[in-house]
Subunit: 334 residues, 2 copies
DNA sequence: TTGTACGCGTTATCAC
DNA sequence: GTGATAACGCGTACAA
């Protein structure tokens, strides 16, 4: 492994000065270098397989062409990790590198991690959270560009899923299939705390708005804030045992829907023939079910990509951007 | 936002030279600086809130205290993304930062991405793959430390799950519960291609070895290389329809087990009372089932952490390191 | 149109 | 024991 070629090497090879080399290779427009010199530089660079040293460049310019992606637990979260992928792709498109850090369940680490990223002179900070909620962040330097994905904090630009629209769309999908007696599993007062979730209230709001617009009330409800299969399972059984009459179930998320499927199957009810199921999130799980689950997708990958673009593109970012949650049509609604 | 303090500022504040400052702050041992001078330096640094500029340091030392984590799709893979977390934690412990990149389904991007990481002067390269298989990698500079996680390539150190042991342990768990008539779902010739999987053959080998040691053959088998719920579902139904007699099912992975559960429930068979189910991987899914699934866990987080440690700690890494797959005891075997 | 020389903040080599 | 000073590789003001 030979030493890497430097600008000086290229200059020598081309018989020109480093200034010329620098100007040419950085594609400076309003400096009149003869086309012939420029060509000589490019050839020399090519011959020597030259590529600029980003370290030296950063030292000189104060910019690193890198951004930090700081998250709570998205790497260990079933599906939220897709937001990393989105950010990675958008950053790479722009020639940026992503420094990753994760603070896990210990928010007190956040300060240390952010400080470490700032020391590394990242050009911007991207925060990503597992569940969209209000978060406390350490003080950040004024000028430093910052965007929150799936989270909100004081005056920082935030990217969130368009939950209200999704709530409406979910209900409307059931209505369009002719359902009028609809059950809902997963309402909870607890979830209204913005530090637990900043978006779930909107999901509820959308759901309720669409129901109201149709002049309907839910035929049955099973409350609960732990959106795990158990809730769907027990909730569905309870509603059936209460002799509630419904032709469709709307569940707070896919894991709840999963539990609902189990209960329905136990009772000999077929999805979607006897009972339709409509849900939110679109975890991988949704594709495992029989029939596969129709659900409103959390657009994590798009949110990650948008976050990186907002951070890196110079336009002033909006205070809050809502990313549409697409309806993923599978087989559980008919 | 004021300008950051530099070493020169600290030197001035302490009334000493930058040399002294550098020596003290880097904790050099065999240089005789008076304890009093050292103290003055530390105090001055504290007062000015000085922290060294990693960019300048890298320019000088040629090391960046950063490593690259290059993967195919681990960020969008249900559970493999835990290996990122492991690598992140281990890197942070050592003061290293992780530059992430992901090439997705396009291996031709690998070369570009690796080149970009090398340009950034990372101190080491960590490759992480979704499924443990033989991979082709671009040529890497001689000296550059490299470790593969969940993948194998020519002469590079690799970290893999200990599948053979896990295969044996899974069978032995069933034997310990008294099962003698065991069915197996998921054998396939196709999976023996090392470019598809380098470890599945070992999983088979462990399973077969344990069965042979017990003097047993499988009571029934359902073959298949697409390890999705569908295989478990159809496979189980077929075996039951063939009037096969078994008290336990060993499935190739959790998704297959999920399908098996569905089939068993349809036929009115209870897990684990009528049929025990034992599996591999430990996806989140395993905890959703009724009863929760007993399975051999793929230790992705540990593998990620070990990879980073091997990369960063100076010991010469072994050509291949097998990480134990722990038995996760839940409720599906009795 | 191109070249010279300096500075970015650090570490390392030598003097004193 | 400590202090000048020369790199590291790049960008750019200023000179030619």
């Amino acid at each position: 492994m030979k030493k890497r070629a430097t600008q000086a090497d290229v200059a020598r090879e081309a018989g020109l000065s480093v200034t010329t080399v620098s100007l040419v290779l950085n594609g400076r427009r309003n400096t009149r270098i003869s086309e012939e010199a420029a060509e000589r530089v490019r050839e020399a660079a090519e011959r020597l397989d030259y590529s600029p040293d980003p370290t030296a460049r950063s030292l000189r310019t104060g910019r690193t062409r890198s951004l930090a992606f700081v998250s709570d637990g998205v790497t260990v979260t079933r599906y939220a990790s897709a937001m990393i992928r989105g950010a990675l792709d958008a950053a790479e498109e722009r020639g940026y590198t992503v420094l990753m850090a994760e603070v896990g369940e210990r928010p007190e680490r956040l300060e240390k991690v952010v400080a470490s990223m700032l020391e590394r002179r990242v050009d911007g900070l991207l925060f990503g959270f597992m569940s969209a909620r209000k978060v406390g962040l350490p003080a950040l330097p004024r000028g430093k560009r910052t965007v929150l994905i799936n989270g909100v904090a004081d005056g920082l630009p935030a990217i969130l899923p368009a939950e209200q629209d999704a709530g409406e769309a979910a209900v409307n999908r059931l209505l369009a299939a002719g359902h009028r007696r609809i059950a809902f599993i997963g309402r909870s007062e607890r979830v209204l705390d913005p530090y637990l979730s900043a978006t779930i209230p909107q999901r509820y709001a959308g759901i309720d708005a669409a129901m109201a617009a149709a002049g309907l009330d839910f035929a049955a409800e099973a409350e609960g804030h732990e959106w795990e299969p158990e809730l769907g399972y027990r909730g569905t059984l309870r509603m059936l045992d209460d002799a509630a009459s419904f032709t469709a179930i709307l569940t707070a998320n896919d894991r709840v829907a999963f539990g609902a499927y189990q209960a329905l199957q136990e009772r000999g009810l077929r999805v979607p023939h006897d009972v339709a199921v409509m849900s939110f999130d679109d975890e991988q799980l949704a594709t495992y079910l029989h029939p596969p689950l129709t659900t409103m997708r959390l657009p994590y990958r798009e949110m990650g990509a948008l976050g990186a673009r907002m951070l890196l593109d110079e336009e002033a970012p909006a205070p809050a951007t809502l990313v549409p949650m697409p309806l993923v049509e599978r087989g559980s609604v008919a």
